[in-house]
């Protein structure tokens, strides 16, 4: 029998499976989303202690390169930004500008408690969570989060990209 598990077949009746009408779009979706999630290139934006854990996640023991994640220095060559560390009000315009300069499709991971919600610092100079000026996709809490936690956050982002529908067409 032909192995039909790889093709996305849709069941219409009992024992009858057909190719869905939008098979071309969904196949393109799968291929393009797979391409995007397998080579997610973040901009290095380590602000404070979470940067150390981000470096540890990228180092030898927990390797990020095996996921296709290469840290790029410039946002122009990157896919996403990992905001790792405390965002102060003086630094907020810089973070926003770096996010603005990433070409689409772009994603934001807020790593650490300070980037998610301001952390322990409810003070005059700390932004209480970088989601007041950035559209965050994945929140990775922890102070600092272990490299495995950051890895799980990146896996969740990959899952989010895998479920995107037709985000490559001119009419998205």
């Amino acid at each position: 029998m032909i192995d039909t598990s790889a093709i996305g077949l849709v069941q219409v009746e009992e024992d009858v499976k057909i190719l869905a009408p939008n098979v071309i779009i969904t196949t393109f979706d799968k291929i393009i989303n797979w391409g995007r999630l397998s080579s997610m290139w973040p901009t290095t934006f380590g602000l404070a202690c979470c940067a150390i854990e981000m470096m540890a996640a990228g180092a030898a023991h927990n390797d990020l390169d095996r996921f296709g994640i290469i840290f790029r220095g410039s946002p122009r060559q990157a896919d996403c930004v990992i905001v790792a560390g405390t965002v102060t009000k003086k630094m907020a315009p810089v973070v926003r500008r770096v996010y603005d300069q990433i070409p689409e499709p772009r994603y934001v991971i807020a790593m650490g408690s300070c980037a998610c919600t301001g952390g322990v610092f409810k003070t005059y100079s700390t932004v209480q969570g970088c989601d007041s000026f950035l559209p965050v996709d994945v929140y990775v809490p922890g102070c600092p989060p272990r490299p495995e936690t950051l890895l799980e956050g990146l896996m969740m982002l990959q899952e989010k990209i895998r479920n995107e529908k037709a985000r490559w067409s001119p009419w998205r």
Binding site: S74, R96, S169, P170
Partner: protein, 123 residues
């Protein structure tokens, strides 16, 4: 039509060129169609670590590049003249040899002049 020459043996080269161009331009064209086009001011600004760019984007580079390029052109053309002379060397006799020696000596004088004027120094 009499008198026209169709180089039909080179047809594969034409097909090769067309396919290569199609690959190159096709990639750019597909990108232009499927690319998101949503520019806004902050996205188009030149990148300077997140702050507003200060200062001139250009910087002065050394004039030595121009001097080296000029010298290269001159001596490269000399080498080009040496090639056909070398190919017919055994047929043209002693006079051609002496003439080429004179040619090389003239350019050698120019080379020594450039050397003494420190055109080959980088700093």
């Amino acid at each position: 039509m009499p008198g026209t020459y169709l180089p039909s043996e080179y047809l594969p080269v034409l097909i090769f060129i067309i396919i290569a161009e199609a690959f190159g331009f096709g990639a750019l064209l597909i990108g232009m169609i499927f690319r998101p086009k949503k520019p806004y001011f902050e996205k188009l600004m030149p990148y300077e670590s997140g702050i507003t760019p200060k200062g001139e984007p250009r910087y002065k580079f050394s004039i030595r590049f121009y001097i080296i390029a000029m010298l290269f052109v001159v001596f490269d053309v000399e080498a080009i003249f040496l090639y056909p002379w070398a190919i017919v060397f055994d047929k043209i006799g002693i006079y051609a040899f002496i003439e080429m020696i004179i040619f090389i000596v003239i350019l050698l004088i120019g080379y020594i002049y450039a050397w003494r004027k420190e055109a080959f120094e980088w700093d």
